[in-house]
């Protein structure tokens, strides 16, 4: 049972004005050492699904197994990169990257070596002593990425990590993530609302519907492993883009109708 297994995961939120179904029966697998992206309109339950896999949020029903173990709570072998800036402003880059290892009780010498390697991996060499306040948004996300990678988790979950960044930085960092993944081959589940980003990075895409949240389409990305930005103009990329777009559009139209008739 390697990889991530989602078994009929439901999540609903009860509030005074009623019930919100955020995730409605998702059954999927992320094969070990593969890169899978989730695309879907905002509010479709992507973050909630990721929080359940990370053990931050209990499922109302259903279950998640990671590498054969049932998820019952957070686990340091599951690394999470958040959408919001999660760097610690009172620690410089090196201390930020060491934070996760420090909490895990890694020895000082090992911490320093692993932090240096992770900082190099994300391209922040030379900024070890800088504080987050002096870094751009993209560099802070690199710090968060390095902090997660330094613990060498078997599974990495990323919730729109680059959504708050400008288009160019996003493309740069997407390429970095893909490059890093090709070195580490961790199991990655990557949430985004950018279709091109999802196609460029992943081996498989799950398309989520507007509401209630389930996976309406699973698309294998049969592009070559070695891809660069030029692939965007290839016919196959366009076909894949159209396929994802068509699924999403059908669903968002239905979403608008729901809102209008509600």
């Amino acid at each position: 049972m390697e990889g991530i297994h989602l078994n009929d995961v439901h999540v609903q939120f009860d509030h005074p004005s009623g019930i919100t179904i955020a995730v409605d029966g998702v059954t999927q697998q992320v094969p070990p050492r593969s890169f899978v992206s989730i695309v879907g309109p905002s509010g479709c339950g992507k973050s909630t699904l990721l929080a359940v896999i990370a053990g931050l949020q209990p499922a109302t029903s259903g279950s998640v197994d990671i590498n054969g173990r049932r998820v019952t709570g957070p686990d340091r072998d599951i690394g999470v990169v958040f959408q919001e800036d999660s760097t610690l402003p009172w620690r410089n880059v090196r201390e930020n990257v060491e934070f996760a290892m420090q909490m895990a009780g890694v020895s000082k010498g090992e911490r320093a070596a692993k932090a240096a390697a992770a900082i190099e991996l994300v391209g922040l060499k030379g900024f070890e002593n800088s504080y987050p306040a002096t870094l751009s948004g993209g560099m802070r996300q690199r710090v968060a990425l390095a902090r997660t990678l330094a613990l060498q988790p078997g599974v990495v979950l990323m919730d729109e990590p680059f959504a708050a960044l400008d288009q160019q930085t996003r493309i740069f960092l997407g390429a970095e993530v893909r490059r890093i993944w090709e070195q580490t081959h961790q199991t990655v589940l990557f949430v985004t609302h950018d279709i091109s980003e999802a196609i460029l990075l992943s081996q498989q895409i799950w398309v989520m519907s507007y509401r209630p949240g389930h996976v309406i389409d699973v698309i294998d990305i049969d592009l070559p492993d070695e891809r660069d930005a030029s692939i965007v103009s290839s016919p196959r990329f366009n076909e894949l883009h159209n396929r994802v777009w068509t699924s999403l559009q059908k669903e968002s139209m239905r979403g608008f109708q729901d809102v209008e008739t509600a």
Binding site: S86, W90, S130
Partner: protein, 280 residues
Amino acid sequence: MAVGIEPSQQAPPKRLPPPRGARWRAAQRVPQGVRSAAASAVLLAVLFVLVQIGVASGALRQTGLPLPTEVVGSTLGLLGTGGFWSDFGRTCLEIGASIVAGCALGLGAGIVFWKLPLLGRVFEPYLVSFYAVPLVLFYPMMIVLVGINAGSIIILSSIMAAIPLALNTRTGLQGIRPVHLKLARTLQCNARQTLFGIAIPAAAPMIVAGLRLAVVYALIGSIAMEFTTAQNGLGYRIRYLYETFDNKTMFAYIFVVLILSVLLTVLMAMAERVLLRGRR
């Protein structure tokens, strides 16, 4: 197997400070502190000269101010007397003890109010209104309970120092960004790690602002209570010299209290720089 959309080592944007930017910033800050210290020194010197001229020319005779040069002279004279050091030591002990006890109490209360929001909501209005009450008024009661000694002053000054710190600590802890607490959870931090690794550093700007208030309140509380009733201490001595019409020595003691408060302020500014290193 690089993707090749861009080189893996992205060149840093130009507008960013050079590597080791934090140290560079710190280096810039020191002259700034020196500059403001120099500005206050100049201001004091100007004031000193003005008062000197005013007193010497008789324009300030009504105020009873002695010549500033005489005050400095008698202050230096005080340093040789055992009586001065006994008063000074007693006041420093009171202030120091109430800062330590007040900070521990305030920080602890702030953390408890954050951990137990219900308790925090119940107590906050009382704390806020206590904050507005001159607690020195409870000193006679404390004298009855504890006696005329450093203990009763330390107890009340500690409480005075603790209240603003407790309120600030609670506000700071409530303002922690949720993503930082989420990070703590994903890293399986235990309660101690979350508190010392995330919560307190995250709330540090508010806590440090509370600390500044705590120090000021400890100082004001100790000296004011000595001033009303005591058998020792700088505040007591000033009151005594006032009642015996020893104007010159009284101003020398007042001068010492001023120096003490400036010293505490400078120490706090230095502590603040260390505690808030790297922010903004």
